[in-house]
């Protein structure tokens, strides 16, 4: 379990704290979406989970390991994988397979074991044909998958994704979201930073941040259904929900709280069957 206990963090030279009074728990296997306006502290918060930054006050523990203790950092970085916004700056190897092998190399695994693990992960991602390719020759979606493979090879319990669908076309975006769903099914805890309400559909829980504070923490459906309070941040509804509400205003009588295409399909099918 990830336990954040009343943390406060301020960047050097900054007038306002990046994070203040944040407390929460994220359980293993939970899918948490994290949103908020630009500069509200989302990325700083997930950097705390990987011990890239440590709180000025308060504690962050990952499965009981305190991020303040440097002796825990290696294990914490194995437990919590991080996917950065721009995969170009995350891929460090000269070839795809070398990049994937970077993490196990840092754990000092023997070369034969690294090769076996790299082979397995390339196979599971269907990336065997890219093994020897240089990173700059890959498409945006492929780069994203390679960086995800580089994180997964460490066998993490949680993965923090910082806007993983940024810079991707529709196909790449669908592929990455499907991959995240699959990982969640396998029991890996997902922390997903996104601005897009449609991308949050699979999340068990939604966290909203504003000016370094956690202003909402609850089920996605509850937050989207409830009238949004005046907290300084308004979460835009998914386009499918907007469409359903628009249809209702035109005289249709569809359940208003629909947030996914599947739910909308079922509801429209129900209505049409009844009309026939």
């Amino acid at each position: 379990m990830i336990k954040i206990n009343n943390i406060f963090y301020q960047y050097e030279g900054s007038a306002a704290p990046a994070l203040s009074d944040i407390s929460m728990e994220i359980h293993e296997g939970e899918y948490v979406a994290l949103t908020g306006s630009n500069g509200c502290g989302k990325t700083t918060l997930i950097r705390q989970l990987n011990a890239l930054v440590r709180p000025d006050r308060g504690t962050v523990t990952i499965d009981g390991l305190d991020t303040a203790d440097p002796a825990n950092h290696k294990e914490i970085r194995r437990l919590v994988g991080m996917l950065f916004q721009n995969p170009d700056n995350q891929i460090v190897g000269m070839t795809v397979e070398e990049d994937i092998a970077f993490g196990p190399g840092n754990l000092n695994l023997p070369p034969q074991e690294i090769r076996r693990q790299v082979h397995d992960i390339l196979e599971s991602f269907g990336l065997q044909s890219l093994a020897g390719r240089a990173p700059h020759t890959l498409s945006g979606g492929e780069k994203r998958l390679v960086s995800l493979a580089g994180v997964l090879i460490m066998n993490p319990r949680y993965i923090a994704f910082d806007e993983p669908t940024a810079y991707l076309d529709a196909t790449g975006r669908r592929r990455v979201l499907a991959m995240m769903k699959q990982l969640h099914k396998k029991g890996i805890g997902i922390i997903h930073i996104t601005h897009d309400a449609a991308d949050m559909a699979d999340a068990d829980r939604l966290l909203i941040m504003n000016r370094g504070k956690l202003i909402r923490d609850g089920h996605l459906r509850d937050i989207l259904c409830a009238k949004q309070e005046n907290t300084g941040f308004t979460l835009p509804l998914p386009p499918i929900t907007e469409l359903i509400r628009h249809l209702n205003r035109q005289g249709w009588s569809l359940t208003p709280d629909i947030f996914t295409v599947e739910e909308a399909g079922r509801e429209i099918h129900r209505l049409l069957t009844r009309a026939r």
């Binding site: 994988g81 170009d88 995350q90 460090v92 070839t95 000092n108 020897g132 700059h136």
Partner: protein, 267 residues
């Protein structure tokens, strides 16, 4: 698309060889090239061309890689040809230029040495992937760690630099296009304006490179990187092919050294 290096794996004998052997062979050949005279030049040249043939390298791509250096070799040849004293072979009419036998032979040797050295370097990069090259060098420089030289960290730095060369070149191209779209005279203006516009290109490129370096450091840390020993995917292999290659290299070395000893037994 920007490509880095000239390595294309065609699984030839030369491509399969362990990088350490190839680096050792290149260093040995380079030393021999500096010492070679007379028939040794023919021997080493034949050896290098045979290696190109065995590695199934395209002679056109070798020529393309060497082309930018040929002018320098011509310049070296001309300098020695025109400025070496000795037995006059030819005097240019109306010009204070004399061509001597010594100048001609020295010019030819120097130009050959230069081209042969460059060819060895090109050969090495054509048959060895950049990562194998870095790992091979890391191994060969390994003993330096006893002198507290952080060989592994240097290897990570070198491979990281090589990894980001194409990315930065792409970035350079993007910034250039953006500046041209905004009316920059980087391609069309007078030289003075061009130089001035260059600043508008270099500064954003530097800023972007530093930002990338910051992100990269974090990404490496997040994946458990810390200074000190680490393992890699690359396994060095030393088998029959490597032994054979070293034997052939040994024969070449003995032939050249014997020839040099016979030429000047008591230096």
């Amino acid at each position: 698309m920007i490509t880095l290096g000239q390595y294309i794996n065609n699984n030839s004998f030369g491509h399969r060889l362990d990088a350490r052997v190839k680096i050792l062979a290149t260093v040995t050949l380079s030393l021999l090239i500096f010492q070679a005279r007379g028939w040794e030049i023919f021997l080493i040249s034949s050896f290098v061309f045979t290696v190109c043939f065995i590695c199934r390298l395209n002679f056109f791509s070798i020529w393309k890689a060497l082309q930018p250096l040929v002018w320098f070799a011509v310049l070296l040849f001309a300098l020695h040809l025109f400025f070496t004293d000795g037995t006059v072979l030819f005097t240019a009419p109306y010009l204070p230029v004399e061509i001597t036998a010594e100048g001609l032979s020295r010019g030819l040797i120097i130009a050959w040495q230069f081209i042969a050295l460059a060819l060895c370097g090109v050969l090495l990069t054509m048959v060895t992937s950049p990562s194998d090259l870095v790992h091979g060098l890391t191994y060969l420089l390994g003993p330096l760690k006893y002198l507290r030289v952080p060989v592994q960290d240097i290897a990570v730095m070198v491979s990281m630099s090589l990894r980001f060369v194409p990315t930065l070149l792409e970035e350079y191209d993007r910034i250039k296009q953006a500046q041209i779209a905004r009316g920059s005279a980087i391609e069309t203006g007078r030289p003075a304006r061009k130089i001035k516009s260059l600043a508008a290109l270099i500064i954003p490129l530097m800023v972007s490179a530093f930002r990338r370096a910051d992100d990269l450091t974090e990404a490496m840390e997040a994946r458990g990187y810390a200074r000190g020993p680490r393992t890699t995917l690359n396994q060095q292999h030393f088998g029959r092919e490597e032994v054979f290659a070293l034997l052939v290299l040994g024969v070449l070395l003995s032939l050249v050294l014997t020839s040099q000893f016979l030429r000047a037994p008591f230096p």
